[in-house]
Amino acid sequence: MTTPQSLQVRRRTTGGETEIELSLDVPSDLEYVGPAVELIADELPGGPLSPRRIRFNFRTAFAEALANAIAYGNHRDPGRFVRVRVEVARDAVRLHVTDEGNGFDPRGVPDPTLPERLEREDGRGLFVLRSLVDQVAFNEKGNSVCLTLRAG
């Protein structure tokens, strides 16, 4: 499919270190999740993360956070966008995903591995996210998440 997304790439040099920032606005349609993930993962410079972590952890966590933002944050409203910003530093990659919704309380999400929840189709997103990255931090409102993958 054609992607109306335009990827911005910025390079900053501070104290001899170059930090790269990629940013992208994604329309609130779940069809864009796969293409957006590929667009950014392909541009992600090698260095902090191993190819295997980019291939699996980064892609899966990104797809998860983006789908949550589109479906539960923006309620698939075509007039709303999800803002994605990726900071690539020497010690870590930080992925910020922000929607235009009212936010949610991540503490209210039950454990999907409980026996009585195991056969449910949904409810694994946050659990999968937390399993794949080193840190998951929400803003106070709950409409923006920062995923940190430390170098390695």
Binding site: G34, R59, T60, A71, L118, E121, R124, G125, S131
Partner: protein
């Protein structure tokens, strides 16, 4: 792209997943497998040998398909998970819900 279905000589439907199984394409997999189920197939293998990643929606669709197939007296087996995908199934405890074989051949032989 994404999914290809074939039937082996014993009538087992083998579905190959190319690339990823995520929120954007899971309905396509669901539809293809349910069509085969409605067409009378009862034994299914989903092969992830060529799959890069699966998100929680993809896991969810596998849970849902497994239930529907079992309700019709059938069986769904998975195979070809790389180390990362295997870990994902273990973390979510879905390895306890599915029969997981190493290769398509092993999955087929187990029927």
């Amino acid at each position: 792209m994404s999914f290809n279905l074939r039937k082996d000589s014993k009538g087992v439907v083998v579905v190959g997943v190319d690339g990823q199984l995520i929120v954007g394409n899971r309905q396509e997999l669901k539809q293809k497998v349910l069509e085969a189920l409605e067409g009378g197939a009862r034994k299914f293998v989903i092969d992830f040998s060529r799959t890069g990643y699966i998100d929680s929606s993809g896991l969810g669709v596998l849970v849902s398909l497994s239930k529907k197939i079992r309700e019709q007296g059938g069986d769904l087996r998975l195979c070809g998970l790389n180390e990362d995908l295997q870990t994902l199934f273990e973390l979510t405890k879905l390895d306890t819900l599915f029969a997981i074989a190493r290769t398509p051949e092993e999955a087929l032989a187990a029927f």
